[in-house]
């Protein structure tokens, strides 16, 4: 038994610290207005309605577009096609390959060709239907592996290979010779849909001064503003993007969606334009989780020491790059796991196809390879006759070892600590698979670590600001958006702790490119950590600044003052000047402290490698109905080592929400294509978990960090997905002795397995 660890918060302890979100009351009374709730411009004029004409073909050349009939339709105010774009016609992150409106070619169903703004949505749609487009159909590229063949039809100039990776170390051949147990298999993960309940949409309006205001859900307002300004050849700063609050994103609204089209319509018509995708349009055009095919071969010696690991990945990125390259990078990095491999070889390729568009999604490339890796590890453990937990524990890298790419990483002992916690858990200790006739039960264990922030060379820098508002509120201004992760609470907790004021003194100013500096994207589980570092490193400076400003009116020396709760206090703690009065005394000369954080990156010169990792281990319990083949997740215990918990509510919510999404990926969620078309276009054909599918959750926070850690909290935004998918897969494997090779594990896979003669797997 380990001594009880003061840094471990049990589920009950976490629950006891949960408090209502600052925005809960408004959300519960439906008083929060999402971008898609706006039907009028700020001045109250009712907005025009936009509609997009998307491609009905997955791959075709555009020969001609005739919009004359649409333009002539009464009630139509603007019709736009690619030639109407005055500036940059394409956008993208690393690779600028996505047309705002297609001019010469379409590469997936729904690819936007034209858009209309009209008095009503019905007229806008009717006008779209009047636009004549002449196409020459091209062969549809469906299979990522075939897409990479020399004779494949290509989507983009330069071919279908978007990105490839390769890394490794050690003596592979010798290690393979030395291995007693070798496991080799091929795994597949499906295309998952984000399923945010608010589809892409919002309103764009002229600001009356030659610029535009964009109210559209997004994760990075400053970048979106830049893309739109470039498109319209407007000076930066003339486009203001307000990207919050968001009715769910999970990565799906990280890159721009249809804001540029809406902006172009508003620009052309000179009116506010409202545009929102219907659910089927959103399914067609929105990004998805990358489907992966993964081959792995791994081996260990007779005592269970890992010797070598080989992984080969092929992923389907669909029509455009968006975050694809970074996702393949993450997949490769996380294919290694927190395990010590003396010899390693990982390689991967990412192919363009006409199967929609794949992009950023919580879990980001890592979850796919983590599922396969955890299967490999469990099977090796089984081959050695060692229990999965002990096997993992004995094969962990040392806390101060280099990272999965061989890079220098921040020392971290999370993987060992989460395993230690679960080793004592009753669910693990009493884990025998149970067979109750019709139902079989099993408990699976998985372990993952995952990176924070973007890899080396990525957009890791951030700026945030602390300012005093005219009403005396201390504003924490950042470009991050609130998507449900409880960022407002995080700002309050960290602000109060690190600036010495009361939570009620603070106001979070989020997600508005005109009111907050560019913090980078609200992605990669980075917002909390960046606030922690920024406010932590500059909080003292801010307090000094306030004291200096308060000194003259108070007639004291700054060092006799302190910035505290409610205002400036004397050395004895007595309140001398409230923040409101201080602000009033300063008039227009209100202070703002701009904080620039350099990218926190590994010093190693390895592209895309990460510096910071968090870790999770989980136990999943499933009940499989052998009649229907349906596996039900009944219980899930997650131990998360992510450093100090800042917002218990946010932490719990991110872990549970992420875990359910990962369980969905493992059990029901998949969006197949045929001929480049999605086979489901709404939530009736695509099955996201309901309350009836939710397990009993137990979330345990393992808080402590290694001595001298300067990084602080690791993000909780994604790792719930990362851990849940492999844990559920492990549970099904344990319940049925089934070689789970693909996600989701559908009833037909389970029934096929049960039908199989003993030992044929």
């Amino acid at each position: 038994m380990n001594p009880p660890d003061a840094d471990v918060l049990t589920h009950e302890a976490l629950l006891a610290r949960v408090r209502p979100r600052p925005d809960a009351a408004d959300k519960l009374r439906a008083q929060v207005r999402y971008p898609t709730d706006r039907y009028a411009s700020a001045k109250g004029e009712s907005a025009l309605h936009g509609a997009i004409l998307g491609s009905p073909h997955p791959h075709a050349r555009i020969l001609a577009i005739d919009t004359s009939a649409a333009v002539a339709l009464p009630g139509v105010h603007a019709v736009v096609t690619a030639p109407d774009i005055p500036g940059r016609t394409h956008y993208g992150l690393r690779v600028i390959d996505r047309p705002i409106l297609c001019a010469d070619k379409v590469r997936c169903i729904g690819d936007p060709i034209a858009a209309v703004a009209a008095d009503t949505l019905a007229i806008a749609r009717a006008a779209c239907a009047l636009i004549r487009v002449e196409y020459a159909l091209l062969p549809v590229v469906e299979d990522p592996e075939l897409a990479l063949a020399a004779d494949a039809e290509t989507l983009h100039e330069g071919g279908n290979l978007l990105h490839s990776v390769r890394h490794g170390w050690g003596e592979l051949e010798a290690a393979m010779q030395a291995a007693t147990h070798v496991v080799e298999d091929e795994y597949e993960t499906a295309r998952q849909m984000h399923g945010y309940l608010e589809t892409e949409g919002g309103i764009v309006e002229p600001d009356g001064a030659g610029g535009l205001i964009v109210h559209f859900a997004c994760q990075h307002p400053a970048r979106d503003a830049e893309v739109i300004a470039d498109m319209l050849r407007l000076p930066a700063g003339m486009v203001r993007v307000i990207g919050t609050p968001i009715g769910g994103s999970y990565g799906g609204k990280d890159e721009l969606t249809i804001q540029p089209v809406a902006a172009l319509l508003a620009w052309k018509s000179g009116r506010a334009v409202r545009l929102q995708l219907s659910r089927p349009e959103s399914v067609d055009l929105g990004v998805k989780r990358h489907p992966f095919r993964i081959r792995m071969k791994s081996g260990c010696d007779a005592q269970g020491r890992l010797l070598f690991h080989m992984a080969s990945l092929v992923a389907d990125t669909g029509a455009y790059a968006t975050h694809g390259p970074e996702i393949l990078d993450a997949a490769q990095e996380h294919a290694v796991g927190p395990y010590a491999w003396p010899a390693l070889a990982v390689e991967g390729r990412l192919a363009y196809t006409n199967n929609g568009i794949a992009g950023a999604f919580r879990g980001f490339g890592a979850v796919q390879t983590q599922f396969a890796l955890e299967r490999q590890i469990s099977r090796l453990a089984e081959a050695c006759g060692i229990d999965g937990l002990a096997f993992r524990r004995m094969n962990l890298v040392a806390p101060d070892a280099s990272g999965p790419m061989g890079q220098v990483v921040a020392p971290f002992d999370g993987p060992r600590r989460v395993l230690d916690v679960l080793a004592e858990h009753p669910l693990w200790q009493q884990r025998r698979p149970r067979d109750e006739g019709r139902y079989r039960h099993g408990v699976g264990l998985a372990l993952v670590h995952r990176s924070d922030g973007f890899g080396r060379g990525g957009p890791n820098a951030a700026r945030i600001a602390i300012g005093l508002a005219p009403d005396g509120a201390i504003e924490i201004r950042c470009g991050f958006t609130e998507m449900g992760q409880n960022l407002i609470d995080t700002v309050r907790v960290l602000g109060a702790r690190l600036l010495g004021c009361a939570e009620s003194d603070l106001r979070a100013v989020l997600g508005d490119s005109a009111r907050a500096p560019d913090s980078g994207s609200t992605a990669a589980s980075r917002a909390t950590a960046i606030l922690w570092r920024g406010l932590g490193r500059h909080g003292a400076e801010w307090r000094k600044r306030l004291c200096a400003l308060a000194a003259p009116p108070l007639g004291r020396m700054p060092d006799q003052l302190q910035a505290g709760e409610g205002g400036i206090r004397g050395a004895d703690g007595a309140l001398l000047l409230s923040y409101a009065l201080l602000a009033a005394s300063l008039g227009d000369a209100l202070p703002e402290l701009l904080i620039s954080l350099e990218a926190e990156e590994t010093p190693s010169d390895i592209a895309a490698a990460h510096y910071v990792f968090g870790a999770c281990a989980a136990l999943a319990e499933v009940r499989v109905d052998t009649w229907s083949g349906r596996a039900e997740l009944t219980r899930m215990v997650i131990a998360a080592a992510l450093g100090p918990v800042i917002s218990p509510q946010g932490f719990l919510g991110q872990m549970e929400g992420g875990a359910m999404m990962g369980a969905g990926l493992a059990l029901t969620e998949h969006l197949p294509t045929a001929g480049g078309r999605y086979l489901a276009r709404n939530l009736d054909g695509y099955l996201m978990p309901t309350l009836m599918d939710a397990p009993r959750f137990e979330i345990i926070a393992v808080q402590g960090l290694p001595e001298g850690d300067e990084i602080g909290p690791r993000g909780a935004g994604e790792i719930g997905v990362n851990i849940a998918a492999p844990a559920v897969a492990e549970a099904i494997a344990a319940a049925l002795a089934m070689p789970v090779r693909r996600l989701p594990v559908l009833p037909e896979h389970i029934l096929d397995h049960l039908d199989m003669p003993e030992g044929a797997a």
């Binding site: 519960l28 039907y39 009715g247 992760q485 939710a694």
Partner: protein, 157 residues
């Protein structure tokens, strides 16, 4: 176009509108009541939930012609009704919401369940709430709110 008389949040209303327009669109576009949210528009997600003659109903599935002579209560009215207070408190305190987009629909369904007599037990409430999807919370907080609000015949597992 057809003429429809109905009651909206306790007030009589008259509407001239195409017969096949959806109640969800009417609420949002004609009355500025945006508490009911579009999510799927096929009756699957529950984000658009209202009471139609006091029963939870997907506003995306109700057409204008079905409204005549009926009464519609939206979340704006329900959230102001003391009967929803325990539901809102439970969801807030248990962490039953995140982005909040599903939340109005949940308040509408749960307030109805909490107001039923007898109150359904937790298992029954869970089953009824399967029509309200939430993509953010993983249902952890919603489940805790359900357990707090409804007698737990199915406590344990």
């Amino acid at each position: 176009m057809m003429r429809i008389e109905f009651e909206l949040n306790g007030e009589p209303r008259v509407l001239e509108t195409p017969a096949e327009r959806r109640l969800l669109a009417i609420l949002r576009e004609d009355f500025g009541l945006t508490g009911a949210k579009p999510g799927c528009e096929v009756g699957r997600c529950g984000a658009c939930m209202v009471w139609l003659d006091d029963l939870p109903t997907n506003a995306c599935l109700v057409m204008a012609w079905q409204l005549d002579g009926r009464s519609v209560t939206t979340v704006e009215a329900i959230a102001a009704d003391p009967r929803s207070e325990s539901v809102r408190a439970a969801l807030a305190e248990c962490g039953g919401l995140q982005c909040g987009y599903c939340t109005p629909g949940l308040v509408v369904t749960m307030t109805h369940l909490a107001d039923c007599s007898p109150r359904p037990d937790a298992a029954c409430a869970r089953a009824q709430l399967a029509g309200n999807l939430c993509r953010c919370t993983g249902y952890g907080g919603i489940q805790r709110a359900v357990e707090r609000l409804f007698p737990t015949a199915d406590a344990g597992d």
